[in-house]
Subunit: 157 residues, 2 copies
DNA sequence: TATGAAAGGTTGAACCC
DNA sequence: GGGTTCAACCTTTCATA
């Protein structure tokens, strides 16, 4: 499984990061000056290599009725961490889990809930799983940016 | 702009969270027992309301050659925060910025870089913007989960 | 690995209930 | 709100260099 992404791969990733649903292979191909089928094959390869793990909608949970977006900071013993992380993903309301390499707080959970009780439930379930919940913070706003280091110069072919 | 998502909206969001690129409106419509155009209209409405902010590829930065994925913890004065957050988004390598409501560390930045020097650059640029960088941690792995509280029961119409 | 062509599926828009 | 139709577009598959 050789890696090493070239310019075309970069352009594809950049385009898909901006809009993964409404960007067709043909559009990317036009900008890059290659055939649409070439772009499709590259996308398939990126998926097969695991560079592309999936495509997700970026939903505003606040507007979706889930008013509370929280960051839960946890600590897990290193030897159990991998297991605990997977169990944490099954807790209702959890949307992402990150394993942090350095520091005490080595697991960071993002979750959304309908109200404060719901967040309490999530924290309790994480504790029940075996994670030591050390802190919990509400998120006011989240801003995502398409990672554009892939694109060498978006406005030129 | 009235909110309140019904069952169909929930199904749509759930489907798009699982795979925003390869899930057609017709597929969702089949499962929900409505016409494809109804689903398309709902999607358009969710986008117009701002519930759906966009669709992004979930890329494994490690495999993409950006070996270092970091969480940068920052502090910003409340009255400047909004402005600083937007400037932080323009720093090369930054992929997301969260505004945290509670606690000292009220801005959490996620960034990816090619090497340690690159991460140092990012931290320096965030400082230059005016953010007080209080901590920086490397991420070993990130796991995202489709938020399934929308789906009442995926295997039944 | 990139390209081209035919078949089948998907989308968006206009129109009706 | 939801549904139908249709032209334009996209993707899939296969064959080709």
């Amino acid at each position: 499984m050789d890696d090493g992404l070239d310019d075309l791969d970069g352009r594809i990733l950049y385009a898909l990061q901006r809009d993964a649903r409404h960007t067709s292979a043909a559009e990317i191909a036009d900008e890059a000056g290659v055939a649409p089928s070439t772009v499709r094959k590259r996308i398939a390869r990126l998926e097969a290599r695991g560079v592309v793990r999936g495509y997700h909608v970026d939903a505003d949970y606040q507007r979706a009725g889930y008013q509370l977006h929280a960051l839960v900071t946890c600590t897990a013993p290193i030897d159990e961490r991998e297991q605990l992380v997977h169990e944490a993903l099954d807790v209702q309301g959890v949307v992402s889990v990150r394993e942090v390499m350095t520091g005490e707080d080595n697991v960071r959970v993002t979750a959304v809930g309908t109200d404060h009780d719901d967040l309490n439930r999530i924290a309790q379930e994480l504790s029940a799983v075996g994670l030591d919940v050390t802190d919990e913070n509400l998120v006011r706003g989240e801003h995502v940016r398409p990672f554009d280091s892939f694109a060498h110069d978006p406005d030129q072919s």
